[in-house]
């Protein structure tokens, strides 16, 4: 019931916003209230979930199409709890940011944002293959319009590439869903057995690789992240990309143990190559969003390395890193938005020297940047270290690449921090550009506080996500 409420509440709120003509502020207020209620509901769910027992909990199941074995089945595993947690927090921050900057056509905007949040949550709790597919597809509808209507000047080509890539992936997945469901006689992820069909596995894997995105299927990323409204880019990189992680964890590994094992080498090599390649691109990117976008892609490569390490360490590292990266990337994108608002551009060449007379901005950017570059002691460091240790068994070379990735992360993050804050004031930085306002702090500080909390106690996530029964679900099939 609680799980259903978590995914239905934002959808219902979206319908209300779309139908009832509320004034501007009331619309935004209602949207933010819904997002905060979601956070509250998630806290209730997290406290009710028995992490010691693990396994599928807080589940609901109802027949939908009996003859085909399609059902509405939702529920939480340990790792879904944490992924949903990141989702609701990031959406609350993103909607708050939109409220603060103000968006035209607010009713449509907030309705779509809330609908998107419902779809993301549904993806993370779906325990039926078809329900998962529906939620996965449903994310694209609001994203398409959010980027296409409220995006930057090149938004139309951004939506086009986004849709072509993701739909190509999704439709491959549809073929796989049909093939898997029909051969198994049920679409339930709980009841269905395993399959050793490489083609079906590939359909899923490619869809997730596009969504993540993994090298070399990342063609949609630069335009989409640059042209989307900044809070939509935050949501996209922070949580929408994590649906791919969930897909790997919940579908690819447990349902296709043999193909996963056979193709692990290929995935690992691509993920490692993507990690290095994206890090280099981030280092070379001429603008703020480019850096954050490519760093996000690098992190997804890293997380995939953890997933395909096939052991407790790698998997829990991957989940921890997913949660930490969601929060880091959301804060980075929101900060990018705040800088862009002040300077009117994100070109690194025109920025600089913003630390002078803006101590709060400098502090916040520095902290977020430090966590993003995985300074030892941070949650991201813990995640990356777990992945590094986990993937060692698959080959020491992968660990070396992860280590290289950490070094490269330091390089590009420090470059961007100094390009914003230090060096000479750039032409776009006006003297009177203000420091961070209270409202902006209200958005970023909670995210950073959560990150600092996670840095103090990363085991909260890593030891309670893919361990116990949940680990069995993923790993048992592989052994």
């Amino acid at each position: 019931m609680l799980t259903t409420l978590l995914l239905v509440l934002p959808v219902v709120a979206a319908l209300v916003l779309a139908i009832v003509p509320l004034p501007r502020d009331a619309t935004a207020g209602l949207a933010l209230l819904t997002a905060l209620l979601e956070v509250g509901l998630w806290i209730v769910a997290a406290t009710r979930y028995d992490f010691d027992a693990g396994g599928l909990q807080l589940g609901t199941s109802r027949e939908w199409v009996e003859s085909l074995g399609i059902s509405y089945t939702v529920g939480f595993y340990g790792f879904s709890i944490w992924l949903v947690g990141a989702t609701v927090v990031v959406f609350a921050a993103a909607i708050g940011y939109a409220m603060w900057t103000g968006r035209e056509r607010p009713r449509a905007y907030y309705a779509l944002m809330l609908f998107l949040s419902g779809a993301v949550v549904a993806t993370f709790v779906a325990q039926d293959l078809l329900l998962f597919y529906i939620a996965f597809e449903a994310m694209l509808i609001p994203l398409y319009v959010l980027v296409g209507v409220w995006g930057g000047p090149r938004r139309l080509s951004a939506t086009l590439t986004l849709v072509i890539y993701t739909m190509a992936g999704s439709l491959l997945m549809l073929a796989s869903v049909v093939a898997f469901g029909v051969t198994q006689g049920t679409f339930s992820l709980v009841d269905s057995g395993t399959s050793d069909n490489v083609w079906i596995f590939l359909g899923f894997a490619i869809a997730f690789a596009v969504k993540a995105p993994l090298f070399p299927l990342h063609g949609w990323l630069p335009l989409a992240y640059r042209e989307a409204p900044v809070e939509v880019a935050a949501v996209l990189s922070a949580v929408v990309s994590k649906t791919a992680v969930y897909g790997f964890l919940r579908i690819c590994l447990p349902k296709f143990p043999e193909p996963s094992d056979d193709l692990a080498g290929l995935v690992l090599v691509l993920a490692a190559a993507g990690l290095v390649y994206a890090s280099l691109l981030a280092f070379r990117a001429p603008d703020l969003r480019g850096v954050v976008a490519y760093s996000s892609m690098a992190q997804m490569g890293l997380i995939t390395l953890g997933v395909f390490a096939f052991d407790d360490l790698g998997l829990s590292g991957a989940v921890l890193q997913s949660v930490a990266h969601a929060l880091v990337s959301a804060s980075m994108f929101l900060l990018v938005g705040m800088v862009e608002l002040r300077c009117g551009t994100g070109e690194l060449a025109s920025l600089g020297g913003m630390a002078r007379r803006r101590p709060v901005l400098a502090t916040v950017v520095l902290i977020a940047g430090m966590i993003a570059l995985a300074v030892p002691g941070s949650a991201t460091f813990a995640g990356e270290f777990l992945i590094l240790a986990g993937v060692y068994d698959q080959g020491w070379g992968y660990s070396a690449v992860v280590a290289l990735g950490i070094v490269l992360a330091a390089m590009y993050m420090l470059r961007v921090i100094s390009a914003i804050l230090h060096v000479k004031p750039g032409p776009a930085v006006r003297e009177e550009a203000p420091d961070l306002r209270g409202a902006e702090l209200g958005l970023v500080i909670p995210l950073i506080l959560v990150l600092l909390g996670l840095s103090l106690w990363p085991a909260l996530v890593s030891e309670s996500s893919v361990s116990g029964e949940a680990a069995d679900v993923v790993l048992e099939a592989l052994r």
Binding site: A18, S67, E137, I141, Y144, G148, V163, L174, G181
Partner: protein, 487 residues
């Protein structure tokens, strides 16, 4: 005392109700004063469709086991009843769409013809022998020839009427010739008797089968027998296009399924391949050609060809599940099709010219209601979740996969990917292009209020979305209907 055959009036009641509606409309066209002529004729035909819908529901309920009536010429079963229900509801929606259409001469005849065409389709779907099949086909086709050309002062309408007459007449002739060959080979007209005639390798029979299939393929507008579709869809009055795209397809597909499964089970290894090939060509051609269209009605016409491809996939599966998939598919498809043409009609009336992609610019923001409706229909046709279109595609693909046509599954998936380009292009014009520069609407004033059309579009949205959430009841009905065929 002469023995009169006992007539099952209930089985015929949907057809008779529509004929009665048409008769009242025709009488009213003569007897009623001009100012209320349109309202009364429209109401009569609406009532005819509504009563037919209710009666076909009753027949569905009362016919758990299929029966053959009138010396094996007509079937009374749940398949026919379900198809009649879909046709009747579609017809009612079309009457609503055309309610506030521009005054035309002879609106009484227009509504009467609509009801008679509906009656012909209701008869056609229950045809159980080659004679009644041809009779039903001609019955509704003749009405449609006139309906297409009903806007006499518009050249495109006349041109469309002529094209449809010639191509449609050719299609009917092919079907008739095929029937003659089949009769020659088996000496039987009734489907069941043809099946039991045991002449499987007869060249005449196979040639006849091929020609009948081609004749029906004209009606479902499957490529390569689709050439008339874009021109006729574009030229007809939009409400007639809506009726043809939904009701004609439903009728022709149900008749095709019944004919192939009942009369030619022995030849199934031949016709499944033929139908699969037709499906493949329709998918490829419909989707590629739709990419190039600027005119909305042409775009929807090519999209309907690609939908025909999907439905043919279900027929080609030659299984009970395939039948279910086809019948399920028809429900959201009819709703989306009528709804989309309804929105096109609304835009045409507002702007006073043919609706192109450009004329949609900004519609989503100016007329949020029609915008969201058209958005829903486009996503539904593309097979997005939260619309019945997704389950339709899923069932059809599953049926094809079950039948071993994995290459059709892949083709269907690729076709869907291509179709997104033009469906989402419509959405893009709705929301992401500004109409400010195009000066579309005549300055000043809002469009005329058109409640009937609004209601019809709303009903279509409800069916489109409702068939997603309430799959099981529709699928149950489709399963009952499919089980009346001897798979």
């Amino acid at each position: 005392m002469i023995d009169t055959p006992s007539v099952d009036w209930l089985a015929l009641s949907p057809t008779l109700a529509l004929l009665a509606g048409a008769a009242i409309a025709l009488l009213a066209a003569v007897l009623v004063p001009d100012w209320m002529k349109k309202a009364i004729t429209a109401a009569a035909s609406l009532a005819g469709f509504a009563v037919a819908a209710v009666l076909s529901g009753v027949v569905f309920d009362q016919s758990p086991t299929p029966e053959v009536l009138l010396q094996g010429t007509l079937a009374r079963d749940q398949l026919a009843a379900l198809a009649q229900l879909v046709i009747a509801v579609t017809g009612a929606a079309v009457v609503l769409v055309s309610w506030f259409e521009r005054e035309r001469q002879g609106s009484g005849e227009y509504y009467a013809l609509l009801a008679v065409a509906g009656a012909g389709m209701a008869f056609f779907v229950s045809a159980e022998d080659l004679m009644t099949l041809f009779l039903g086909l001609e019955w509704f086709s003749l009405c449609l020839y006139i309906l297409v050309a009903v806007d006499r002062e518009r050249e495109t309408s006349l041109e469309a009427g002529l094209k449809y007459l010639i191509v449609g007449g050719f299609g009917s002739a092919v079907l008739l010739f095929g029937s003659a060959l089949v009769y020659g080979a088996t000496g039987e007209l009734s489907f069941g008797a043809i099946a039991s005639a045991q002449t499987q390798d007869d060249a005449f029979l196979l040639a006849g089968l091929a020609m009948i299939l081609a004749g029906l393929a004209f009606k479902v507008s499957a490529a390569p027998f689709h050439m008339w579709t874009p021109d006729v869809y574009q030229g007809s009055p939009t409400s007639v296009t809506a009726f043809m795209s939904a009701a004609t397809k439903t009728a022709a597909f149900v008749a095709m399924l019944r004919l192939l499964v009942t009369a030619f089970p022995e030849q199934s290894d031949v016709w499944t391949i033929a139908v699969a090939v037709l499906a493949a060509i329709s998918l490829v051609w419909g989707n590629l050609a739709a990419l190039a269209q600027r005119n909305l009605k042409r775009l929807l016409a090519y999209s309907s060809i690609s939908h025909a491809g999907f439905m043919l996939m279900a027929v080609a599966a030659n299984s009970e599940f395939g039948g279910e998939a086809l019948l399920y598919y028809l429900v959201p498809y009819s709703a989306m099709s009528v709804g989309a043409f309804g929105v096109v009609a609304a835009r045409e009336r507002e702007l006073g010219k043919a609706a192109t992609l450009e004329s949609l610019a900004g519609l989503g923001w100016e007329r949020p209601y029609y915008g969201i409706a058209l958005w829903t229909f486009m996503l539904g046709m593309a097979g997005f979740p939260l619309t019945g279109g997704m389950f339709g595609k899923l069932f059809v693909l599953s049926a094809a996969y079950d039948a071993g046509d994995w290459w059709l599954v892949i083709l269907g998936v690729v076709a869907t990917a291509v179709s997104l380009a033009y469906y989402l292009n419509v959405v893009r014009w709705l929301y992401m292009r500004s109409g400010a520069g195009l000066r579309l609407a005549p300055a000043g004033g809002s469009p005329p209020r058109d409640t009937a059309l609004g209601v019809a579009v709303a009903a279509c949205v409800v069916v489109t979305v409702g068939s997603f959430f309430f799959v099981q009841p529709i699928l149950d009905a489709a399963a009952d209907a499919a089980s009346s065929l001897p798979f």
